[in-house]
Symmetry: C2
Subunit: 363 residues, 2 copies
């Protein structure tokens, strides 16, 4: 959904159906599992229970870009278990400590489903917070821990120039920057930089001094071309499928030209520079999550991979093209992916899953 | 929706359709309007801006039983405008004050619709909180103002004895206590007392010392029989309509016998006693809201009244009887109401809309 300013607001596919994110998020679940130990260790090492649990009555936790679960519930439980463990080891009775968890995603996220799926045995007060994490969502200094897994690579909008016929960055005939001219890549990179400026500025205000933030984001290793990354190569095949349909008159060429995926995979260095430019956070860790690269044994089968993509991108595509063409589009798209070698285990080495641990400096 | 313990969890009819609460809540809107000045005055007179705005970074506000709007947005705006006004008159710059508003209702409430309807020009951070207000919903001492309009008369469950064939309080052949034996009325009253104990206990923990709570609740004047109240008499006509349908084989008699409306209208004295029994709140005001009794000119027309009832009770009825019988039921029910004199202006004098203003005592 794009407003007049071109800002996009979309969410993973809601509900409980076969194309829902709820039933198609096992790839992201792997990321959650691999981040688990990293988060636990971060809390054990640097979460300051003396300071953070006495300065306020309760611990505020936010999961940004939470979608509908179940991954968000696993992440949140891990954070709380780790804080409670640390409190116990420091002689605090964890029974007096209360947690308030804020589940955030776009307004169009299926919060009804999220709320219905909340674990009954949870040890926290739950709240849903609708809105873009590129702006302020919470009062000043109200959060102690913020997590965003597979979220900040989504841009707040398609870069303006990319859909401007007059611009040298006009991305005609493509839906992504994978094999695009340098100007297009620069437009995407500049949009990501602007979005991260807003993101870190907002979080810097919302986190208490000493509060922690963890990010998991798919990155491109320095020196790797976008086309070498499997997910980016796949995005190009989506563009090819749409162009085929335009050539057959099944969808208008203008529609295809005006569609671009609003997501960007920075290099680790690029993200590090943006964090430093903001200046409010200490970089405690910025390293590959350590998840094993996909091997022959663990390579996703194509149907499962495509189901994941449909859950993640389906909302955007339906918003732009209408629901009617979706089945046809995904049949063509799946064929192209199957015919390509983009999902071979070796291609996965061209992607890094970056784990970032930040601590809010004293304001 | 009743769980194994018989606890009910239901919400006003969601969505945007002709039977939705969103389009059928103008009666409650009248209550919101009449409470507006009372809330503004309460804040002007006793909201301690010095204490409450310096002890924490932001002001926490909760609207309990918020449904989907628009009434909740009007109430919240009034609270915030009043606090800002008071801050300005005390020389606080309101630009530094931040508000976090928690919209609460049952899990089955249509939060997606609520979030989509949030005013764009709001001056607060919004969060949705799913769950029963008969239990804890927020961390200790995290709220400064709590409101519940037309909410606390809903019970957490149908009183157990009322659906127990072995009990003297078994309410066979009725769906409410309007014309029921004393034992049934007592069972309802006892359930309300238990629910209010939990309610005040939870709020006492969640509100900061000096924090305010406003309640608007339809009450029965002392000495008035339930059958004299228009809404309770109407509930009996719902029971009659269901019995007619049972006699015609359109619904099973058992189904009708096991259905009871989980709501209770106390007398003002009864509510006052329960607040005192809890002991954590100063009763600042407990008085009729001052809304003019319905006159010949302002009496609701029957269709509008029935639409309101369907938005409020429809969810419960569908849950128990299924959606199939709803249109038929409401045709019969409407005929009975039209043939009765329950909606005459004079009958409205038998109902009091009580406005209660409470202040959390120092803990």
């Amino acid at each position: 959904m794009a407003d007049e300013q071109g800002t996009v607001s979309f969410a993973m596919v809601g509900g409980d159906g076969p194309h829902s994110y709820r039933h198609n998020s096992s790839y992201q679940a792997g990321a959650v599992a691999s981040a688990k130990a990293l988060i636990s260790n971060a809390i054990a090492e640097i979460f300051d229970v003396n300071h953070l649990t006495t300065s306020s009555g309760s611990i505020g936790i936010a999961d940004l870009g939470c979608s509908v679960g179940p991954n968000t519930f696993i992440t949140v439980k891990n954070i709380i278990d780790s804080v409670e463990l640390k409190c116990q080891s420091h002689g605090f009775g964890s029974q007096v400590l209360e947690f308030q968890v804020f589940f955030n995603d776009h307004v169009s996220n299926d919060f009804n489903m999220l709320f219905k799926s909340l674990p009954n045995d949870r040890h926290y007060f739950a709240a849903g917070v609708p809105g873009s994490f590129h702006g302020r969502l919470f009062p000043k200094a109200s959060l102690h821990f913020v997590n965003a897994s597979y979220a900040i690579h989504w841009l707040s909008r398609v870069p303006k120039d990319v859909v401007d016929e007059q611009s040298p960055a006009w991305n005609k005939g493509r839906v992504y920057y994978t094999n695009a001219p340098n100007q297009v890549i620069k437009a995407y990179s500049a949009q990501f930089a602007r979005d991260m400026d807003s993101f870190f500025e907002a979080r810097a205000q919302e986190l208490v001094s000493g509060g922690l933030m963890t990010l998991v984001i798919p990155c491109l290793p320095v020196g790797t071309a976008p086309s070498q990354s499997p997910i980016m190569a796949v995005a190009d095949l989506l563009g090819d499928s749409l162009l085929d349909m335009a050539n057959m008159g099944l969808v208008s060429e203008d529609k295809v030209d005006s569609f671009n995926l609003p997501s960007y995979n920075p290099t680790p260095q690029e993200l590090e520079n943006l964090i430093k430019r903001n200046g409010c956070f200490e970089i405690v860790k910025l390293e590959p999550s350590g998840r094993a690269p996909v091997t022959k044994e663990t390579a996703p089968n194509i149907q499962m991979f495509m189901s994941h993509l449909r859950a993640a991108w389906g909302g955007l595509l339906v918003e732009h093209f209408g629901v009617e063409i979706m089945d046809d589009l995904f049949v063509r798209f799946t064929e192209k992916v199957a015919d390509s070698s983009t999902l071979s285990p070796s291609s996965y080495r061209m992607m890094v899953e970056l784990f970032v641990l930040l601590q809010r400096k004293a304001a």
